[in-house]
Amino acid sequence: MNSIALGYTDLALASSLVLLNAGLSLYLALGLERMFLVAALRMAVQLTLVGLVLKVLFAAASPGWTLLAALLMVLFAGREVMARQERRFAGLWGYGLGTTAMLMVALLVTVFALTTQIRPDPWYDPRYAIPVLGMILGNTMTGVALGLHALTTGAVRERAAIESQLALGATRREALRATVRGALRIALIPIINAMSATGLVALPGMMTGQILAGVDPIEAVKYQLLISLLIAGGTGIGALAAVSVGAWRLCDSRHRLRLDRLH
């Protein structure tokens, strides 16, 4: 592997583009310069911190610290899922539902990949575990958030249709079938589209990164395929779990639609 290390002057040069944009915004009175600079600064600080944390984590290579980092990532992802809901579940369910679904998927898919496919030694080696978990979380997060959002807004919108079916003697499962199916479709379409367009429209970031780091393109492609397959599988399982449990929570044992359980 022969990657070209970057110096701080290289970064300073790249940041001149952002400064140029800020200058243009000032000149054209777009009012975006402040947001632009703050966002760039935030990114720089966050990434630097993450880099430092990863460096420490990798050096320690301890299962305990790795697990803690993984857990924190899941909790942050859960918060992100909740923040994207227009009508979220009341109480603990609001945060718990998406977070639990993602915890399950992250655990399942990451451990599956590490122990049977990537197989680093030890299998929890943070140098592999954390990036893989990050990519899986980042994508399943979108699927789970979209699925839950479509489920709850769909149930609110289709309330008359769902309750009319219930009133005629349909079970909660039958009455919610169309809403659940629609929610799963919305959750999975982005990942399906992403897989279809991968390589034609854009090169995936991870693969590009590996190529820049000097990895043979075929090897980089294999890694990307592995990760994409894990992501697709994880998104499907996560969205299915979150939407199914969400649908169950939207009804009670007397087969009533309980929109009062939403905020």
Binding site: E158, I162, L166, A167, G169, A178, H255, R256
Partner: protein, 198 residues
């Protein structure tokens, strides 16, 4: 016989009544007095306190879908979940004669739902419930959007069901309709429910 004892839920006065097989009880009162909430509680679409039995069977003792097939609720604004009326029926061909009796156009089964008038939708929703042969009908202003001819058609069908032993709870704003269909009135007013003979 439908027996309702101390039925209570928020937004509705506590109420109790008996409804014999073949009888129609009109439910009257201003908008917002709780008629719809009563129907939703009786069909178990909303939680409520109190005792409701049908022919001696307690509501909670059988699965809710089974209860609702016996006690059918037709809301004032029914919902639709498929593109055409026919798709809302298990067997549209079996429902055709009823559609004709209710003065609906012959080709209505394949018309897009969005294209139908409020009155047509109201009658189709009533048909959905009629086809299930429930013991009790909870009808929330079933003829509200209908003209006189369609109203009499609906009333004739309902009278036929009463003669066959079904019971009807009929929410209506029309005193004349209450007089035509019902023998007693459950009146919601000033936060109280009162049952009176006609």
């Amino acid at each position: 016989m439908l027996v309702v004892e101390r039925l209570a839920r928020s937004g509705m006065p506590d109420t109790g009544f008996r409804l014999n097989n073949g009888a129609c009880l009109a439910v009257m009162g201003p908008s917002g007095s709780g008629k719809t909430l009563l129907f939703r509680a009786l069909s178990d679409l909303d939680p409520s306190d109190g005792r409701v039995t049908l022919d001696g069977v307690l509501k909670e003792d059988i699965p809710a879908p089974q209860w609702r097939r016996r006690v059918a609720y037709v809301p004032a604004e029914p919902g639709w979940w498929a593109a055409t009326p026919a798709a809302h029926f298990a067997d549209w061909n079996a429902a055709r004669p009823l559609a004709q009796t209710l003065l609906l156009p012959g080709d209505i089964g394949s018309a897009p739902i969005a294209r139908l008038s409020t009155g047509e939708r109201q009658r189709l929703a009533l048909m959905r419930a009629l086809m299930g042969n429930p013991r009790v009908f909870l009808l929330d202003e079933p003829t509200g959007p209908l003209d006189a001819a369609a109203t009499s058609a609906v009333e004739a069908v309902l009278r036929d069901r009463l003669a066959k032993g079904a019971a009807i709870l009929l929410a209506t704003h029309d005193d004349a309709q209450a007089a035509r269909m019902a023998t007693r009135i459950l009146r919601f007013a000033e936060g109280r429910a009162m049952e009176t003979a006609l």
